[in-house]
Symmetry: C2
Subunit: 597 residues, 2 copies
């Protein structure tokens, strides 16, 4: 509950602050006069300054604050430890940076879903630490991961005030399996967050009562004709194909930016300059008296969403009358922004889609806190965003946002069609980013072929173990410890038998070796047993693999239990170890077999 | 897709047939004249005959066809094998029995959700077997369980044409964790089912197009005032308390019926007589000219749902005019059935709730195929049914059924409030039935206390293993095999070392022992090693526990991997085994510690 309320407060406060900044920008743009140069400058300087500050500030505090954070969280939920990623000091950097990014409005065209999930998870980790400290409990990694899964739901729910899709979206994006316990906790926290978020809007007199954010209205009796179903599915398929194009372009452009000589140098030496440059390009294109006129660039992100959900046939409404282009967007008739007498509504919509397609790809390369879900949702709504993120709950999000669910079946069918295409052709936006950022991750085993492949642990385990035996002389122990940097050593009974009896943590062992040098008289044959007896704690081996365990089984184990390392024993003898590194290698070998030499 | 389409056809055909039977009953009741005796007989004989046939027919074919089937499926999904439960021969019994049960209409007041999940799972298991046979693949238990999880979603989706809540409800009810893969498959199958189900209604000219089943309409701008939220939550809490009362009464009445001398004897000797007796009681009470007049007993189940979702203030509408009691329900004004000039709407509603409460408990004791979700949903809608089943997705079901989602937040809060109370006080309807039916199951470990309790495998493992050693003489092997009936034996290297090297299946060993008696010349010391070399296959031990593994860890393993048995090794030596029986015992000891003697 604390998490939900806190996140709602942050979300609402951020929206409020951003609204003020955007209004100030609009005021400046309006008051600066009719001179084209001044107007152009007032339009572009704002986002350039905000983005370079956002990029510079957040990156100077922590390099972890860039991007949405969802790919990193996904790897964390799969059990990989990313040190400091959830540290509360990243919080300020992310909040300030994200506010600046969002304050640029639709010029840069970015959202806040991903960063809010990251913020929510940071707060939850912090609350967990505080709780553990006050209750005097030790921290529990499994519990922590459970908390994270619930926190992710809160992040989505407090952005859209949509608890159902918040929970489902976070589940689909973040993990490959989840427990029903987390799901309930997620629902509770997300409901608290969404309720608080909407309650604040009521208290601030923005709303009369708690309703959906983007209200629209459809006919209940005959919301659509039966043959329209076909067009829904076709639209879904088109969105699926386009999402593949988008994912392909996005991944390769990111790679290009990172490998191209000039951009790579610029990114390495001065991230704010790169951000400023990109912002200048994006802002110049969206300059309303210029090309921006044809892509409704004066609308904010929220207004874009409102026109998306506006249930009016614009084409019919403009057939006989041609509304004038107002001096500034008319809140009652936002869709006027989309109309141009010569281009017609369809022209501006098509132009908008084409331009935003590559502009969004450019915007995603800027190293600063920003979310990429909202722009994708505006461009292609439920089916496109579902295909890009490989999720189905975007359909539910559309229902919760609009308060209308009569199109449940056709929308779901469109999203499924889009997902079938994109999941078969491209990794999801988040998986693609994980690969591009070279984050550690455990690939999924897809399809029957690999599942039934007779690869077992003995084929891929790490068999060059540094084993500590109880009867090892101390010199050998020290040599073994210094020769490697693994965090855990398998402990065996004797050098001869190699029977695994426990695990020694590197830190404990080093501590014990450093604190007890006095008793090791030279000449006296001191062995590891003495160190262990002297107070170095060992851990029991609670789970062991066999060389015969199949790859599929091992993968399931690691995936379900979010394990770090397991030791492999054969007839009690320690013969190897498996971590996600070995697993990943084994799986990629299966997927892309090495070329025969 | 095949599963979805098949289930939709079955669901639609069953609805159609039931509709005809119900109409025939109505016709008979109308045409029989005004004589009270004849009317009473025509009202009661129908359900009595149908129920005794349903009970007798289905029980004569298979004892598994009774009840909803969800509790049994839940235990199956947790890894316990219930032989023959998914056999296709149960299918006919369940379909015919269920049709008869449902044809009694609201007299007996039962639904079809649970049995449809069971039917869907049966078909899916059958399709899986057909697929495996045609593809020449061997059956895979993990794959089978995945199929079952998806099939459960189809069952719910084809009853309510609600794919989202179908998937979520089946997840919440059936398993304690699930993989996102199953979730996607479930969505696909459920969407196919729901689409087909609604398409049939369009083709049959019942509907103009595909819409929600129970259409209603709320104001979009101000669906409710903010303070009403409090009453939503209060209503949820009341539903939570009532659900506890219901669950408590239901479980104890079931126990009473099974232990009471007369009813137990009746149930054991003649289930149809018991069904007929119960049907006679229920039908007599609902006789419309009698007490049934005050509980809208002339409405069918679907009509009950329609009046539930009817967005009209009945109290206001009846303030000035008192509608007459029509000769039969008026399809345009179904709510007239709820009105009585003296009782008023509130009187009949209260009477209905009180009467149906215990009548439903009586109806659940009848041994025949029937679902108990629908009546619970009619009595208390989302919050009550969510509390009784311990699920949250009933909220989503209400939205999908009505095509209205503007009340998302308050309904979700009511359901959460109801769930908090019922989950803390009572096992869910399904868990309660599992306990009452004494089905095998793995209890959940709830709360931190037990999770962090220092109980480890050595405290509860079964340490009286029947171990087979490779150097065991054959007489000893035979003695060991005949002395116990376990399905698997741990195989150790030598009697002295006890190092675990593999697993021998009982069936394989018995076969090998029976087929090779010729070579065992008397006097010649033949040992197990020879049998194994002679062709008895052994399986590798792919996963081992240690005596130090904690109860919590072991529980997580069994729960996530749906395991049957794991062997425990200490320094390579086989020292014990753990199955869900030991686990269950250990957990119940923790929850209810034995009284000190």
């Amino acid at each position: 509950m604390a998490l939900g309320v806190l996140m709602a407060l942050i979300s609402y406060a951020m929206n409020f602050a951003i609204g003020r900044v955007v209004r100030a920008h609009k005021w400046l743009y309006r008051e600066v006069g009719d001179g084209h140069l001044l107007r152009y400058l007032s339009w572009t300087v704002y986002p350039v300054a905000l983005l370079s500050f956002s990029s510079g500030f957040s990156q100077s505090i922590t390099p972890f604050s860039g991007g949405s954070g969802l790919p990193e969280l996904k790897t964390m939920l799969s059990g990989v430890v990313l040190e400091d990623y959830l540290d509360i000091k990243n919080f300020g950097a992310k909040v300030v940076g994200l506010s600046c990014t969002l304050a640029t409005g639709s010029t840069i065209f970015l959202g806040k879903v991903g960063p809010f999930v990251h913020l929510s998870v940071m707060i939850s980790a912090y609350l967990g630490r505080v709780r553990a400290k006050t209750m005097g409990e030790s921290q529990n990694k499994a519990k922590e991961i459970e908390m994270l899964a619930a926190a992710a739901a809160v992040g989505v729910a407090t952005v859209f005030a949509a608890p159902f899709s918040g929970v489902l979206f976070s589940i689909e994006v973040m993990s490959s399996h989840f427990s029903v316990w987390n799901y309930w906790r997620g629902f509770f926290a997300a409901t608290c967050g969404a309720f608080m978020f909407r309650l604040l809007a009521v208290f601030n007199s923005e709303q009369e009562t708690i309703t959906s954010i983007y209200k629209t209205r459809f006919r209940v009796d005959v919301p659509f004709d039966l043959p329209e179903i076909f067009f829904f599915v076709a639209l879904g398929a088109i969105c699926g194909v386009l999402s593949c194009v988008y994912l392909f372009c996005q991944r390769n452009f990111l790679r290009f930016i990172k490998t191209n000589r000039y951009t790579a140098k610029l990114l390495a030496t001065s991230k704010p300059s790169y951000a400023a440059l990109a912002a200048l390009i994006l802002a110049s294109i969206t300059y309303p008296p210029g090309v921006g006129r044809f892509m409704a660039s004066r609308l904010s992100m929220a207004e874009h969403l409102r026109t998306l959900f506006d249930n009016n046939s614009w084409a019919l409404m403009t057939r006989n009358s041609s509304p004038p282009w107002p001096a500034e967007p008319d809140p009652q008739n936002l869709w006027f922004e989309w109309y141009h007498p010569r281009f017609t509504i369809f022209g501006t919509l098509a132009f908008f889609l084409v331009m935003k397609f590559w502009m969004l790809i450019l915007a995603t390369t800027i190293p600063m806190p920003a979310g990429y879900f909202m722009p994708i949702f505006i461009i292609g709504a439920a089916a496109f965003s579902g295909a890009v993120t490989h999720t189905i709950s975007t359909a539910l999000l559309a229902f919760e946002l609009t308060g209308q669910i009569v199109h449940a079946l056709p929308v779901l069918m469109a999203v499924l069609a889009a997902n079938v295409i994109s999941q078969n052709c491209q990794p999801s936006f988040y998986d693609g980013t994980i690969m591009a950022k070279k984050l550690p991750y455990l690939p999924w085993i897809r399809g029957r072929k690999i599942g039934s492949h007779p690869v077992s642990v003995e084929h891929f385990m790490n068999s060059t173990l540094t084993i500590l035996a109880k009867d090892m002389p101390l010199e050998e122990v020290i040599k073994a410890v210094t020769s490697t940097d693994v965090a855990q050593f398998p402990l065996v009974e004797t050098r001869e038998s190699q029977i695994l009896v426990g695990i020694v943590e590197r830190t404990h062992l080093v501590q014990a070796l450093q604190t007890e040098p006095a008793s090791w008289a030279p000449g006296q044959q001191c062995c590891l047993q003495d160190v262990l007896a002297g107070g170095c704690p060992t851990q029991p081996v609670t789970l062991q693999l066999s060389p015969e365990t199949s790859l599929y089984q091992t993968h399931t184990l690691f995936d379900l239990l979010t394990l770090q390392t397991l030791f492999v024993t054969s007839r009690g003898r320690a013969v190897g170890s498996v971590s996600w590194v070995e697993l990943k290698k084994a799986i990629s070998t299966l997927i892309n077999p090495p070329a025969p030499k």
